[in-house]
Each structure stands twice: as structure tokens, then as C-alpha cells.
């Protein structure tokens, strides 16, 4: 059985809920609304809800197996105990690679957004470097630090998304949400499944299992965070599509900014896009930091390191370099649309389900395993 890495940070349910909600809801500020509009047209707002429902079901299934048969263990420990060390390492490396890809993509998208909106004359190298450095610093503080930071900044995110939806109310055209199923039900369902690629809560929750104050709370954390973030993203997309018609969405790489620019509530409440910088920057930082922490943590437990921190600089460097790899943002969007979204959910939902299912089939019948 792999050893737990270093200090077992003990994090409360409310902080964990905040961190995972921010983690997934931050996709509202990145490329997801564009993808949703492109895939499902007018039904784009349904995708996060469908993805949320599927993810909750998957999470509950995995959680049931862990809670009944492998209490207090994370998914990698389960893989190691049931299928041997090699499988455990393989599972960890898969998750790390997936997180790395996600992080690099999010990082590039985020940096491009900054450069194209608020700092047009600053080189992306510098903008991205600073973001990665800050994310590294936050990740360095450990899960406790990340979770508490996210908890403090969570109200900002909540108020931000809601205000963004509400303040654009005088531009809404509810008719633009019809036809209800946009490109048709099959396309919507398929898009919903693909959108699961973004709900990394499932795989991350199975990793933070040993850190929860009370593992029983974790089920609530999972369900609430997935549901809340799905609703938030869905709300945002709905507002966005009522302001900008769905067929136009492929041409907008950064919907939040576009929406925020529309705000005009009297002469003194106008052009608030700069204020929303705080919103999407903090959300993206929280996301990058959680991923970095998770990568460091998984790698440390797979390699039997005493601490996850020494791995962080190298992981951040890798993320940064991989993020800078595509020569232009078009290529990033291409990878996102063609590879990441259609196949990411297999790793994200499929692997925890497969590991938990196989472990249950092999060892579960013997009333679990005895561990120290």
C-alpha cells in the first residue's frame, strides 16, 4: 500500500465544496461556452446539466465502492492494493498526464484571454509565467491553503457569475433559446457526455479521500460541488446565449469578456469588464493550483516521495512549456474540440469507475482488505 504523502492535511467539507465548485465552474470563463454553443446550438445550456448528472451518478457509484469496501483509501491506493504496484503507478501516471494536459490547455487559454483583453502589449510569456508562478505558490501551501483560499474567494465567484447574468438582463432575448433542443437530442446528449471531460471533480475527489475531515461528508461535497458548478455554468451559458445568438458562439473565444462588455445599467454601471478580471483570474488561479497540487500529490504517492512539494516546480515548468507549445490559440481550440472533449471523459469518469468496479469484483467480495 502506498504511503500517504507527508502531512495529511485535514480539510473541512465546506472548503472542499468551494474548491471543487470553483474548479469546475471556472470553465464558464474559458472556452466551454463556445464549445457548448458550437455543439448544441441553442441547447448549449443543457450540456453542463447533463454532464453534471452523469458525473454525479459516476461519483456516487465510485463513492459507494470506496465507502463500503475501501474506507479511507484513495483510488490509487485501491489500484495498488488490488492489482499490484505496477497498475497503481500506471493509474497515477495516467491521471497525472490527463491533469497535465488539462492544466496546460487551461493555462494557455487563460493567458491568451489576459493578453487579448487586459494586457495587449505584454508578452504572453510574461503574463503566463506570472500566473503559473502564483499558482505554484498557492499549490505550495498545500490542500489546506488552496481550499481555504478558494473558500474565501468563492463568494466573489458566486456574486460575479450571478451579477453577470443579471446585469445583462436588458439585452436578453429569451426567444434565442429556441428551438429547445438546438441541434437535436442526440447531439445534445453526446455533447453532454463529452462535457463530462471537464468535470474533473470525480477523479480529484477520489484522490482527496484521505484528506476529508469526515469521509462521509465527501459524498455531499461531491454531489453539491458538481451540481452547483453545473448550475452556475449552465446559468452563464443561458444568459450568454440570450444576449448573443448561439450560431455566433464559435467566433467568440472568451464569452465572459464579451458579456461583461455589454453591461450598461445607467451611466455609472457600464463597461465593467475590467472588474471581472478579478473574478476570472482568481478562478483560473484556483484551478491551476488545484491541478498542480493534485499532480504533485499523485506523483509523490506513486513514487513514494515523502513530500509533494519538490515535484511542484518541475510540474509547473512542464505545464508552462506544454501550454506554450501550440504556436497559436487556434491549434489549442482544435485540440480541445477534436481530442480533449470527445475522449477526456473516458479517463475522467471511465478510469475511476473501472478501477472501483474491478476492485469491487476482485477483492470486494472478500469484505474488503485489511490495511494498517
Amino acid at each position: 500500500m502506498t504511503q500517504h504523502v507527508e502531512e495529511k492535511a485535514s480539510v473541512g467539507a465546506k472548503e472542499l465544496t468551494a474548491v471543487f465548485t470553483v474548479y469546475t465552474a471556472s470553465h464558464a470563463f474559458l472556452g466551454f461556452p463556445r464549445y457548448a454553443g458550437e455543439t448544441a446550438y441553442e441547447a448549449g445550456w443543457m450540456l453542463p446539466l447533463i454532464a453534471g448528472a452523469i458525473s454525479i451518478a459516476a461519483f456516487l457509484a465510485v463513492d459507494a465502492v470506496i465507502a463500503r469496501r475501501f474506507p479511507g483509501m484513495d483510488i490509487i491506493e485501491i489500484a495498488t492494493t488490488c492489482f499490484g504496484k505496477v497498475s497503481g503507478t500506471l493509474v497515477s501516471l495516467c491521471i497525472v498526464a490527463f491533469l497535465l494536459a488539462t492544466n496546460a490547455m487551461v493555462f494557455r487559454e487563460f493567458s491568451e484571454n489576459v493578453v487579448s483583453t487586459v494586457l495587449p502589449f505584454t508578452p504572453i510569456f510574461l503574463v503566463g509565467g506570472l500566473a503559473m508562478l502564483t499558482a505554484l505558490y498557492i499549490a505550495w501551501m498545500g490542500l489546506e491553503g488552496i481550499a481555504r483560499t478558494a473558500y474565501i474567494l468563492f463568494p466573489v465567484l458566486l456574486v460575479g457569475i450571478v451579477s453577470l447574468c443579471v446585469l445583462t438582463v436588458n439585452w436578453w432575448h429569451p426567444a434565442w433559446l429556441f428551438p429547445v433542443f438546438g441541434r437535436g437530442l442526440p447531439a445534445v446528449l453526446q455533447g453532454g457526455l463529452h462535457a463530462c471531460s471537464l468535470v474533473l471533480n470525480v477523479v480529484l475527489l477520489t484522490i482527496v479521500y484521505p484528506h476529508a475531515h469526515n469521509p462521509k461528508d465527501l459524498r455531499r461535497v461531491g454531489v453539491v460541488s458538481i451540481a452547483l458548478s453545473s448550475v452556475l455554468v449552465s446559468m452563464f451559458i443561458m444568459a450568454y446565449q440570450m444576449v448573443f445568438p448561439a450560431p455566433g458562439s464559435p467566433s467568440s473565444p472568451f464569452p465572459l469578456y464579451q458579456l461583461a462588455r455589454m453591461i450598461y445599467v445607467g451611466r455609472y454601471m457600464q463597461r465593467l469588464e475590467s472588474v471581472y478580471v478579478f473574478l476570472w483570474v482568481t478562478a483560473a488561479l484556483a484551478k491551476l493550483a488545484v491541478s498542480l497540487w493534485a499532480m504533485g500529490y499523485i506523483l509523490a504517492s506513486a513514487c513514494e516521495w515523502p513530500s509533494f512539494r519538490p515535484a511542484l516546480p518541475a510540474m509547473a515548468m512542464l505545464c508552462f512549456a506544454l501550454g506554450m507549445w501550440p504556436p497559436n490559440v487556434g491549434l489549442v481550440l482544435h485540440v480541445y474540440d477534436v481530442y480533449y472533449m470527445p475522449w477526456g471523459w473516458l479517463l475522467n469518469l471511465g478510469m475511476p469507475l473501472a478501477v472501483a468496479g474491478l476492485a469491487f469484483a476482485i477483492r470486494g467480495r472478500k469484505r474488503g482488505i485489511h490495511h494498517a
Binding site: W140, M141, E144, Y151, R267, V275, V281, A289, P310
Partner: protein
């Protein structure tokens, strides 16, 4: 954790030490996440159990530190790491032996004994003090009065030292007993010595000698002759010396191997006056002063509880300073008291001048900009915090008393919030929160908006700003730094300037940051407003140490804003929150009870009504969670709690 080699070899094969900062850059330093003590792990129940085993003797230093250390092992941070030892390579450990400071007196004694015979006459003549110091001290109080007198003369360096008064007299029994009174001039109340020591012993005592043996004379004096209200019998010489230096008068009687320390303290100190930094409109107006006992008395007079315990310690090996640890037994978590005592007792310094210095020795992260100890000069605040479950630390004659643990939110509270009605208390706190953010971010916001995001302000205002900046030849950041520097200068000069010419500072300051600078075209009028509001906001932060932190951080935000606008501010703010969120004060996360979320009375961002302040803050892990009954206004239906909490008695 990875330690690079401490040494490298140069071209000639000699070992060259790598500087510490370079080592740190290439090694994993986990101090951000490791804490020597976590209060959450030390539950009140286990601590109670420990307490039930009996109070620890004040000098059981080792056992106290051991229990605390074992408690801390929960968080996998051993006491050795807390003390600064790092897991190191074998080589590093061999080559750099641990050097612990040796108390000055012991060091001098070692020097004496190591070179007792061959000491050169030069040394002896040059440093007569060092030569005759502790080495010459007897361990016990001698029975023979002549030896006592000689020992006192050696100890206090008589006859050069004119502060020490030796008064030989005869106790008026038949035949008389030789006796000696020793005290420090200036520390004692002479009338007490005259009327309560010398007069009764010399004039009013007429007893037969057949009262007992010579060595029991001191008991007779103590029990029958000396009417002082506080008398301690001492037989250790070191205690006697400490007693004399603390303002007691030592009475020695020939033939008895002990001394009596009679309480005669009466030195000059400032009377209890108004608070200098924490004034209120509604509430008490007394403040701590430069008298240790007056300070503890002020708290005790407000908090008249038999459970209020004051434990005394001394810190300082060459000159001792009294340190009192005050807490309410039955409320405070004993683990917290043990940790406070452990940290204080591990201080080894020659002299501890003030609570401001002690604070730096005991706080968790002394390099942090945010204070982790609450220093206050208000006895009512200390009394209130003690009843919540905090521990108060009084240091010598310092007029600031420390309360630990301190969470961030309590640094923004004032005593007045509690004394006015809840809506006004809440209003005051909202103002203060706004002030905190304004003091921290307003100049940075101004720079960002002017440089990077002019579109977010309405066009008219933007034109007004642009017009006001038209005449100014400098970049915004230069303007802001200039004005900030002026403000800081006025602030610093205002404190240092002699009070006679105090009003000058106002006139000069008003000239600099007012009309003249604008008319000269050096700064824009809007910036003057921004800077003035920032200065006002920073004065509205009630905690002086937090105000300092905000002042310093403001410059960091200025820099970030001037380079990257809102983006820079957002990044720095996130990093700051992350750093704060892992900081601890005596084992309590400094952002508790918000992050991590913990139970607490409605007294965090806002001020709840007094009748709703039912529970003590749970981050203190007190032994008793409730400080008042759930229903404190049973006659009022309006303020009765809803059903869930509607218990009429405390659990």
C-alpha cells in the same frame, strides 16, 4: 527537505561554505506548511485529563515541553524541527555542531573556573564585575550575619554600587540579636521600611531570648515581630537576590540560615491613564501602565473570578523580567496554556525589555507582515478575551499586554464594538473593512484605472482625470510613490517631533500634500484625494501592527498594479490570501473561524447582538463552549431563539 552540500571545494581543495540564501534556494523548505503546535489536535478533553494529574510546578520546564512536543507530533512536526533543526546530511551535522546560547552568568562562571589560577592581573583589574560575579555567590543564605554581609557586598558590587542600602540594626530582644536590612534605593517605599520593619523590630520588640535556638530566631521574627503583609522566607541565595531586585526588603538575622523578603515595593511609575492608541467614546477609559502589578490588578479588578489564574515566570538570565501568564481555569484549553508557557520558558536572553520583544520570540511566524499576537493596552479587552478562552501575557513593566491566539478578524475589532448596540457595532465594522481594503488597494486601483483600464470609468470622470493629469509631467506611479512617501514621512515625523513644535507638522504636511503640490504641477488633484483617503483609511485600522502590515503591502500592490494593472493586483491578492490561510497563531489558523469554517458567535465580520453571543469561539477549543444561556431575554418573545436552539438552559 533535500539539502544540498553545505560546503564546496575551491580550486585548492579548501572547503568553502555556501551562503545560506543560496542553500535555501536549492533546498526544499517546508516551514510554510509545518507548525510546531496545532490547537485543534489538542482537544480540551485530553488536556483536562492532563490537568487532573495536578498542576505542573513552575520549574518543570522539561516535562512541559515534552508533553507539548508529543502533542505536536500529531501534525508530524517534531519539536526539534520547530527549534530550527533541519534534516540534514550527515556531513552537515558533523561539521556544524549545535551551539546553544549559554546564560551570561554561567558563561562567566565557566570562564572563571577554567582560568581561575592563571588569570592575569590585567583581566582582573579590567573586569572586576565579571571576576567577582556568580562564581562568588553562595548557594544558600549563610547563617552568620558577617558572611551574609560580605556575600551581599560581593553580589551587588559594594561599595561602588550606591543603589543598594545595607542597614544594620539590633532586634530589641534581651540581649539584642544582630540583624540586617537590605533593599534597593528607589525601588522601595521607605516609609513602609521605617514603620513596618525597623520600628517594630527595634523599638516595639521586647522579648526574652529564651524563645528557642539561634537558628529559629528568624521564625520568631516572621511570626511575632514583623508586621509586613507579604513575607517570604528564603534560603536560596539566588532567590534572595531576585527578591531584593524586585523591590522587596531582605531582613537577615544573625544565626539563622534564611532571610525574610518583606514586600516593600514602591517605585515611581506613571499612574493609570487614558489609552494612547485604543481610545473609545463609550467604554472604560483606563489603560495599562508601566507597573506590572498595577496591570495585573487592573484586569483582576474587572474580572473578579476565583478561576482567574496568574502564573509567574521570569525571563532573562542576566537581568530578569517578570512575565505573567493569565488565564481563566475551566475555560481556557490547558494545552494552550502549556504551549504559551513552553514558548516563554524556552527564551534564553540576557534581558527582555518589553512585550514587543517577547512577541517576536513566541509568535509562530515572526517574519510575517500580519501580527499573530494581539497587543492591547485596554484591561477591559484583556478581561473579555480571557473569558473567551484566550491567554494573556504580561511582560515586566510594559504597558501593552499580549493576548494569544489572535485571529485576523479580531485585529479589526475594537472594544467599542461591543459597548454600543449591535447595529452600530456592525456599522463600525463595515466602515473598518472598507477602510482596510481602501488602505491596501486604493492607490493600486487608481494606478490600474489610470494606466490600464480607463474605459471602466464614466467618460466625464475619465475626461476630468485626464484633464487634471494633463499638467503633470510624471508617470502615475511616480506621482503616487511621491505622495505616499510624503505621507509616510509626515506620519513618522509626527511621532518623533517634540510636542512643543508639534503643530508645525500639520502646517508643513498640509502644504506638501495640499495646494502647493498641485499648483506646482507635480501631482494631480484627484491623486491628492486618493492619497488622503488612503491615509485616513489606514488610520481607521484599529490594530497598530496590522496597520503596519497594510502599509507595507500597499507598496507591493502599487508595484503590481503599475506593471500589470488589475491582473497584477488579482495575482498578488490571491497569493496573499493563500499565504494567510496557512498561517497560524498558537496553533489556530489565523483566518479562523472563516477559513477553516468553524463555529463561532456572530462576531466575525459583523457584530451580533449581545444576547446572541452565546458561544465562545470554537477555534480556541475551550473547555466550556457556552458563555451565556441560549435564552438571555426570556421575557421577550421577539428575541427568543428559534426552536432548534431554543434550549432554555446551557448544556
Amino acid at each position: 527537505m533535500p539539502e544540498p552540500a553545505t560546503f564546496i571545494r575551491d580550486g585548492e581543495g579548501k572547503r568553502v561554505r555556501i551562503p545560506d540564501w543560496l542553500q535555501r534556494l536549492f533546498s526544499y523548505d517546508d516551514t510554510a506548511s509545518r507548525h510546531p503546535f496545532t490547537l485543534a489536535g489538542a482537544h480540551a478533553e485530553t488536556a483536562q485529563k492532563e490537568e487532573a494529574q495536578g498542576p505542573q510546578a513552575p520549574d518543570s520546564r522539561a516535562s512541559a515541553s515534552q508533553t507539548s512536543a508529543s502533542r505536536a507530533s500529531d501534525s508530524r512536526a517534531s519539536a526539534s524541527q520547530a527549534a530550527g533543526e533541519r534534516p540534514a546530511d550527515g556531513q552537515a551535522e558533523e561539521t556544524t555542531p549545535v551551539v546553544r546560547p549559554v546564560p551570561l552568568r554561567d558563561w562567566m562562571a565557566q570562564q572563571e573556573s577554567s582560568q581561575s589560577a592563571p588569570a592575569s592581573p590585567m583581566d582582573a583589574s579590567e573586569s572586576p564585575t565579571a571576576g567577582s560575579a556568580a562564581h562568588a555567590w553562595p548557594e544558600k543564605v549563610p547563617a552568620d550575619l558577617a558572611s551574609c554581609k560580605a556575600a551581599i557586598e560581593r553580589t551587588f558590587h559594594l561599595p561602588e554600587n550606591k543603589d543598594i542600602v545595607l542597614r544594620s540594626f539590633r532586634v530589641g530582644v534581651e540581649p539584642g540579636w544582630d540583624a540586617l536590612a537590605v533593599f534597593v534605593d528607589g525601588l522601595v517605599d521607605k516609609s513602609v521600611i521605617n514603620t513596618h520593619i525597623l520600628q517594630p523590630l527595634m523599638l516595639l520588640s521586647h522579648l526574652d531570648e529564651a524563645l528557642g535556638e539561634r537558628r529559629e530566631r528568624i521564625d520568631v521574627v516572621r511570626e511575632a515581630l514583623l508586621p509586613g503583609n507579604q513575607i517570604t522566607q528564603l534560603d536560596q541565595w539566588r532567590d534572595l537576590v531576585q527578591g531584593i531586585l524586585a523591590g522587596n526588603t531582605a531582613v537577615l538575622v544573625d544565626g539563622s540560615p534564611a532571610a525574610l523578603a518583606v514586600e516593600t515595593r514602591g517605585w515611581e511609575h506613571r499612574q493609570v491613564g487614558l489609552p494612547q492608541t485604543e481610545t473609545v467614546v463609550r467604554g472604560e477609559h483606563d489603560a495599562f501602565t508601566e507597573s506590572f502589578r498595577a496591570n495585573t490588578g487592573l484586569v483582576r479588578s474587572k474580572l473578579r473570578s476565583p478561576d482567574l489564574v496568574t502564573e509567574m515566570m521570569t525571563v532573562g538570565t542576566a537581568a530578569s523580567t517578570d512575565v505573567a501568564v493569565m488565564y481563566v481555569k475551566g475555560v481556557v484549553n490547558p494545552a494552550l496554556v502549556a504551549e504559551v508557557k513552553r514558548r516563554i520558558q524556552s527564551i534564553e536572553v540576557d534581558y527582555l525589555p518589553s512585550s514587543g520583544v517577547l512577541e517576536q520570540f513566541i509568535e509562530d511566524q515572526p517574519r510575517s507582515l500580519i501580527p499573530q499576537v494581539l497587543a492591547t493596552e485596554r484591561p477591559d479587552r484583556i478581561a473579555h478575551m480571557l473569558m473567551e478562552g484566550h491567554v494573556a501575557i504580561f511582560v515586566g513593566h510594559s504597558p501593552f499586554v499580549l493576548a494569544v491566539p489572535a485571529v485576523f478578524f479580531s485585529l479589526l475589532h475594537t472594544a467599542e464594538d461591543a459597548y454600543v448596540r449591535a447595529p452600530f457595532g456592525t456599522f463600525l465594522r463595515i466602515i473598518r473593512w472598507l477602510a482596510l481594503f481602501a488602505a491596501l488597494l486604493l492607490p493600486a486601483f487608481y494606478i490600474s484605472v489610470a494606466n490600464f483600464h480607463p474605459e471602466m470609468i464614466p467618460t466625464d470622470l475619465m475626461l476630468a482625470i485626464a484633464a487634471s493629469r494633463e499638467q503633470v509631467p510624471f508617470p502615475v506611479i511616480f506621482e503616487v510613490l511621491l505622495m505616499e512617501f510624503s505621507i509616510e514621512l509626515i506620519r513618522e515625523a509626527g511621532i518623533r517631533i517634540p510636542s512643543v513644535i508639534g503643530p508645525t507638522i500639520g502646517i508643513v504636511g498640509a502644504l506638501i500634500i495640499g495646494q502647493a503640490a498641485v499648483q506646482a504641477g507635480i501631482v494631480s488633484p484627484i491623486l491628492v484625494i486618493v492619497i488622503a483617503v488612503t491615509a485616513l483609511a489606514s488610520f481607521a485600522i484599529p490594530n497598530y501592527a496590522l496597520g503596519f502590515g497594510v502599509r507595507v503591502m500597499r507598496f507591493a500592490f502599487l508595484l503590481a498594479a503599475s506593471l500589470f494593472g488589475f491582473y497584477g493586483i488579482a495575482l498578488l491578492f490571491c497569493a496573499m490570501v493563500a499565504k494567510l490561510s496557512v498561517q497560524k497563531s498558537f496553533g489556530v489558523p489565523i483566518l479562523a473561524p472563516v477559513a477553516p469554517k468553524m463555529d463561532s458567535a456572530p462576531d466575525v465580520f459583523f457584530r451580533g447582538a449581545a444576547y446572541r453571543m452565546n458561544q465562545r469561539p470554537s477555534y480556541l477549543q475551550p473547555q466550556n463552549d457556552w458563555r451565556q444561556a441560549p435564552v438571555t431575554r426570556p421575557w421577550s418573545d421577539e428575541t427568543k431563539p428559534r426552536s432548534r436552539q431554543g434550549r432554555s438552559r446551557r448544556p
